[in-house]
């Protein structure tokens, strides 16, 4: 069933919006269960089922279709996109009261229906509670959300991604109407250029300028490609947008197509995002039925078609030329630039490649104007940026902040500080291609240029916070292992260089490193950074270079003192039982997987260092603190 059928003019689009709005505004209570991948995996479908059952049992009329039945007192129950606070899922949000329930289980359903839906009361025990015991009822009051500015994620979490009318009600597709019926392609490009929007995939190239290059190339066929091959470990901004607000991406691509003169687009999305793919397919089908995609959009002469191409899991396919090769059915390998895709991209035709978040910003820019967009962020990095905040902070999840927000604000205000109670040590920003920032960068504004100057990068926006227990050499090794595995093997520097760097890092964390190894590692890192063919190789040494820059003493400790200052590297760990504290309970001996602990009950036990594999189980299980590292 398609909610909206063939619209043949902007007026008809506006009518759908009005009709939807009035339906939404007729005193209807909305119960939104988070439909993001995290909450879905965490039990959201069971919560949904329980809510449905609870409503049915109490004979609360549940509205099946948005517009059909808009009587007072009805409830609209549905999945929303991801609201970002994944740590506390499954999340249930009630509108219009905006109560924000966390960690909801099916057993909570009856209470939610009885108290909140029927009586408008809040269920206190489902609210977010901070470290000081303070509870927050409404979403925007939560410390996690309070300091965020939502542009791209504004509608995700409110609209139902499966119903195009929800998006239309939020002025969705209005930007297409304005562009197609009121702007030349040059004007669209000028507006985007004016806005200062830069590529959100990491490179930060000005989007309007890129579009301008492609528009000026004469060719009867051009393509718009959306890079949705989000591969950085821990990053899920694009996934969240595709799942929560797929139409925003589609609309952005249509506008890009109109701007550069393309009639066909591809979304290259990783196959590991099945939910995003399903929602995109639904969205494309609904948009096509509504004539917002396809031939003669909204009755204009402009046509644009979108195809989905599922990736096969290679990180390097996030590099635009490798991505293009992959769409063409070839091995996903980057090729030298120039020629840039703007001149010779997909199937040799001029092509614009942008990532999901970039496209999702475009409709807002067209609707609200470049000046509005520039009001967020800083001079050379305008707008907002979505980050995936993870690691040792209290609050983890997706956050959206204006460009230029300081690192400290993100970690301490939004993230709520370090979860473990230990000191803040560093963040790894930009995933395996990025670098680390330390305590000295607490006041560093997070924008393209400041980060680049600090030896890191925005990248796709992963932010991993690390506390004092994290070994920075091990961090470098971890990311190097990732890029080494993901190297496509085309250019020698990346293929051989990452392998050698990994070998050296393994040697260092394994306690076998020498000072010469650090020198060679640094030399290799510079060579790979300077000489590699594509972005993967050029940025792969960043974690090594930035940890060497800010935590060189940790490297030295590993090779000179043969110690891991953070106590993380196994090679340097040794476990010893403190005789005075040991009660001889034998628990450690029973848990030891290799039988390295022996002794008589009620007498102090000992660990055989030769047999010990330094797994740390004894340390974890001892109730008397008798095992020391």
């Amino acid at each position: 069933m398609t909610p909206v059928t063939k619209l043949s003019s902007p007026q008809e689009l506006a009518e759908v919006k009005q009709k939807t709005l009035s339906a939404l505004e007729t005193g209807c209570t909305r119960v939104l269960v988070c439909g993001g991948t995290g909450c879905m995996a965490n039990g959201a479908p069971a919560v949904m089922e329980a809510l449905q059952k609870a409503l049915d049992e109490r004979n609360v009329p549940v509205r099946v279709d948005l517009v059909d039945d808009s009587k007072e007192g009805t409830v609209r129950l549905g999945y929303s996109g991801c609201p970002g606070f994944c740590q506390v899922g499954p999340i249930v949000r009630i509108l219009p009261s905006d109560y924000f329930y966390i960690k909801v289980t099916p057993e909570d359903a009856a209470e939610i229906v009885e108290k909140t839906v029927q009586k408008g009361e809040v269920v206190d025990r489902l609210l977010f509670t901070d470290n000081d015991g303070k509870t927050y009822a409404k979403r925007n009051e939560l410390p996690f959300y309070r300091d965020q500015v939502n542009v791209v994620l504004a509608d995700s979490g409110i609209i139902e991604p499966g119903d195009i009318r929800d998006y239309i009600a939020k002025d969705g597709y209005k930007a297409i109407a304005e562009a197609l019926f009121g702007m030349t392609s040059e004007a669209v490009i000028a507006e985007v250029t004016q806005s200062g929007l830069r590529g959100r995939g990491g490179g930060g190239f000005p989007t309007g300028v890129k579009w301008g290059f492609t528009q000026r190339v004469q060719s009867p066929k051009k393509y718009v490609v959306c890079n949705a091959d989000e591969g950085d470990p821990g990053a899920f901004m694009d996934e969240s947008i595709m799942e929560g607000n797929p139409h925003a991406l589609l609309e952005g691509m249509v506008i890009a197509g109109y701007a550069i003169g393309a009639d066909e687009g591809y979304i290259y999305v990783r196959a590991e995002y099945p939910l995003a793919i399903t929602r995109l397919r639904t969205a494309i089908a609904q948009a096509e039925a509504a004539n917002l995609l396809g031939d003669n959009i909204l009755g204009s002469p402009f046509s644009f078609h979108i195809h989905i191409k599922e990736g096969a899991g290679a990180f390097v396919c996030g590099e635009e030329t490798a991505l293009i090769s992959s769409i063409e059915g070839k091995r996903g390998m980057p090729r030298p630039k120039p020629p840039f895709p703007a001149n010779s991209g997909l199937w040799g035709k001029p092509t614009v490649v942008n990532n999901v978040e970039t496209f999702a910003n475009v409709p807002k820019i067209i609707l609200n104007g470049a000046e509005w967009f520039r009001s967020f962020g800083v001079e050379k990095s305008t707008g907002t940026k979505v980050f995936a905040l993870t690691g040792a902070v209290v609050n983890t999840g997706l956050i959206e902040v204006p460009m230029g927000t300081t690192l400290g604000d993100v970690v301490f205000k939004i993230g709520g500080g370090i979860r473990t109670g230990k000191g803040f040590k560093a963040v790894q920003i930009g995933g395996p291609s990025g670098g680390c920032l330390t305590t000295e960068h607490i006041d560093l504004p997070l924008d393209y240029d400041s980060l680049k100057a600090a030896g890191a990068m925005v990248g796709s926006g992963g932010l991993v916070v690390m506390d004092e227990d994290t070994c920075m050499v091990e961090v470098a090794r971890y990311f190097m292992q990732f890029t080494q595995k993901e190297s496509c093997g085309k250019c020698v520097l990346c293929r051989e260089g990452t392998k050698q760097m990994l070998a050296l890092l393994e040697k260092i964390v394994g306690g076998e490193g020498t000072l010469e190894d650090i020198e060679l590692l640094e030399e290799l890192a510079v060579a790979v950074r300077d000489g590699s063919l594509c972005g993967l190789g050029k940025t792969a040494p960043n974690p090594v270079l930035s940890t060497l820059k800010y935590f060189r003493d940790e490297y030295l400790a590993h090779v000179v003192d043969k110690k891991c200052p953070a106590g993380e590297c196994k090679a340097f760990k040794g476990y010893r039982i403190i005789e005075e504290k040991c009660k001889g309970c034998s628990l450690c001996a029973r848990k030891c997987p290799v039988g390295a602990i022996s002794g008589e009950p009620k007498q102090p036990y000992t660990i055989d260092q030769e047999t010990c594999i330094k797994c740390g189980v004894c340390f974890d299980v001892c109730r008397f603190g008798a095992v020391e590292k």
Partner: protein, 691 residues
């Protein structure tokens, strides 16, 4: 000039066309930049990173193989910084290279070895275990792969994909695990596979025929021409101690074969080294072939031939030099006294030879190989080019795939080139004349009926493609004119097509596709019944086919030079029976062929690898072949055999050098005027435009 760019490399200014790569500009200035993956005929990939240079304005070093020049660009090559990068790159490449140069075929001519000595580090700082693979892996019966030596420049994979369009090999796995492989169950059977061996910048791809046979420093190189088909690819004969031919390599000639050879040509050195080469003349005594002196053998041969007189015949060869074929026809005509001379025993239809001769004489065939890629449309008629003249297959693929030109391909069977054609015209075998007439009618706008099995709309499409081009190459198989029913009409239709196109201001070049390395030359020098050198009409004579047909009746003696009718694909039995009816059969060849087994006299001759002379190829380019190895046993060059026989007969065949024969040809055949060894030079001389 807006299309030119001036840049500075190491302080030297140079102006080059826009789009030139930095490495090419540097090469023009004589500045050496080491490369592995870059190859002038392949698309740049920037994989090996060896050619990094410093360009002002770029924060990072740039690969000169895929960076295009820009106005005012300042490039630094010979600086300590760049040299340091090259050294690092070589250190990278050697991390996994086994350094087994002492047992590697490539050692001594290996770019990796050479560049390491020139620019590389003295030692490696990487100590861990190198990658190991099983080796060598046979990719086919001819090509072996040593994966440990491979530096993954992808030249082989790129050649097969970009040039040959036969992507039989590919890169398997990913990243550090990359290796070259063939698809499961499908050997590397491309007919251009040997080029990958030559392209390989290390000893990873090896020829199973050359492997462990010789070291590069004991090889002598001789410039020559491949004798296996009409293209006349330029080759180098590599021999060891002037005795054994160890391999053929491609010699670059951008007007003929560019950098490539087909496998049929490249790997066809075994007959030269055949241990059963004939080393002495043989004469049949008491029913057995027995060794004899040259004088004895030639005396017996002459007696038998002269006894037959006008009933004698001589069949030369399209794979023998102009000089040998010229002398052969002169000897037959003047010394033996017969008009029955021919270079082939193919069956030809009545009058077709004459029609073809006059077309050649009037320079109707003026096509140049290098212009195939220049023309907008290619009309290819009656030849499975990929098999008949393999290198032209590459030229056509380049024109169609790389340059977007149109191919109209007409052949009864769906040959390899059919898939590149727009349209492919599959006419009925035997209806060549009807088909070409239909096409000519369509091109000239005359009404016609489809009779030859090709759909009307396809012919119309072909005609549109040809008419809308600015420059058309017409390629026609000689067999379509000479062997087809009413072949003369095929020629007429072709002339009609050419005239119609020319009247529409379409430039047309026509190429006669011949299969022998010297078919064109054999015809030019008068080894044709009824035609003297230069297509001067002579008294009628029998064709090779007729001579065999009339063996035992009209023909009682035959002298066959370098041909083996007893092993003909279609007529073995008839020919064998014919040969047995002769009173005298003289066979001049380098091994005891099936035909030679029936001979009364067998004269051991040289192969092309021991011969000096010239070949004229399908585009009528005359090219030189040079002796690489010493004569085997008492064998002699074809020319020497004929000169000796003539002298024995008392004729005045007074040539002290092979070039004197060429001088006589150039004085006799108008198109060869002024042709000398020097004038031909290393890359041949195109004769098609000489009236």
């Amino acid at each position: 000039m807006p299309d030119e760019v001036t840049l500075t490399i190491d302080g030297k200014q140079i102006t080059v066309p826009k789009g030139t790569l930095v490495i090419e500009a540097a090469k023009k200035l004589g500045i050496d930049i080491p490369v592995f993956c870059y190859h002038t005929k392949l698309e740049p990939v920037g994989a090996c990173r060896q050619c990094l240079v410093k360009i002002e304005g770029f924060p990072k070093p740039q690969v000169s193989c895929s960076t295009q020049v820009a106005e005012g660009m300042v490039v630094h090559v010979n600086t300590p910084e760049v040299k340091q990068m090259w050294e690092s790159m070589l250190e990278f490449l050697l991390i996994n290279h086994p350094l087994d140069c002492p047992v590697c075929d490539r050692g001594g001519e290996c770019p990796l070895q050479d560049n390491t000595f020139k620019y590389g580090p003295p030692d490696s700082r990487f100590e861990h275990e190198k990658r190991h693979f099983e080796k060598p892996v046979p990719l086919s019966s001819l090509v072996l792969l040593d994966r440990e030596r491979c530096i993954l420049c992808f030249r082989c994979v790129r050649f097969q994909r970009e040039i040959a369009d036969q992507p039989d090999i590919y890169v398997a796995n990913r990243g550090y695990g990359d290796y070259i492989d063939i698809f499961p169950g499908k050997p590397f059977e491309s007919n251009f596979s040997g080029n990958t061996i030559e392209l390989c910048p290390v000893g990873a791809l090896l020829s199973s025929l050359f492997r462990f046979r010789a070291r590069p420093w004991e090889i002598t190189k001789t410039e020559s021409i491949c004798p296996n088909c009409g293209v006349g690819c330029n080759i180098t004969i590599d021999d060891r101690r002037r005795r054994y031919v160890v391999r053929f390599l491609a010699r670059i000639n951008d007007e003929v074969n560019e950098h490539w050879l087909c496998d049929r040509g490249r790997f066809n050195s075994h007959t030269i080294n055949d241990p059963d080469r004939l080393v002495k003349p043989l004469v049949r005594k008491n029913g057995e072939l027995q060794e004899a002196t040259w004088e004895e053998a030639l005396t017996v041969a002459l007696e038998g031939m002269r006894a037959a007189g006008s009933h004698a015949g001589g069949i030369g060869s399209p794979a023998r030099t102009n000089e040998a074929n010229y002398l052969f026809q002169k000897f037959m005509r003047q010394v033996i006294g017969t008009n029955n001379v021919d270079y082939t025993f193919e069956k030809r239809t009545d009058g077709s030879t004459g029609a073809l001769a006059s077309a050649i004489a009037s320079v109707f065939f003026n096509g140049r190989i290098s212009d195939i890629a220049e023309s907008d449309a290619i009309l290819c008629l009656g030849s499975d080019i990929s098999y008949d003249l393999p290198l032209l297959d590459l030229w056509i693929k380049k024109a169609v795939r790389k340059l977007g030109k149109n191919l109209v391909f007409a052949y009864p069977l769906k040959a390899e080139l059919a898939k590149y054609a727009r349209p492919f015209l599959s006419y009925h075998y035997g209806q060549e004349a009807e088909f070409t007439r239909e096409l000519a009618s369509a091109v000239s706008g005359t009404s016609w009926q489809p009779l030859a099995g090709v759909r009307m709309e396809d012919i119309d499409l072909a005609s549109e493609v040809l008419k809308s081009a600015n420059y058309v190459t017409v390629m026609v198989a000689k067999s379509m004119i000479e062997s087809a029913e009413n072949g003369r009409d095929v020629l007429k239709s072709l002339q009609w097509i050419a005239d119609s196109l020319k009247s529409r201001n379409v430039r047309v070049q026509v190429m006669l596709l011949v299969q022998g390395a010297n078919t064109f030359g054999a015809m030019d020098v008068g080894l044709l019944p009824g035609y003297l050198p230069g297509y001067k009409p002579a008294d009628k004579g029998l064709t090779g086919w007729e001579m065999l047909e009339k063996a035992g009746s009209d023909i009682s003696a035959l002298w066959i030079m370098g041909q083996n009718p007893a092993r003909d694909l279609f007529h073995t039995e008839a020919f064998t029976a014919a040969l047995q009816k002769l009173d005298m059969l003289v066979v001049q060849d380098h091994i005891l062929t099936e035909t030679a087994r029936y001979a009364h006299v067998v004269l051991p001759s040289s192969t092309f690898a021991e011969t000096e002379g010239t070949f004229t190829n399908t585009e009528r380019r005359i090219q030189r072949i040079n002796p690489a190895i010493r004569r085997v046993g008492n064998s002699k060059a074809d020319t020497d055999i004929i000169i000796e026989a003539a002298s024995l007969a008392g004729a005045d065949f007074n040539y002290s050098k092979v070039e004197e024969i060429l001088t006589e040809i150039s004085n006799t055949v108008p198109q060869y005027q002024g042709v000398t060894f020097d004038a031909i030079g290393p890359f041949g001389r195109y004769l098609g435009d000489l009236k």
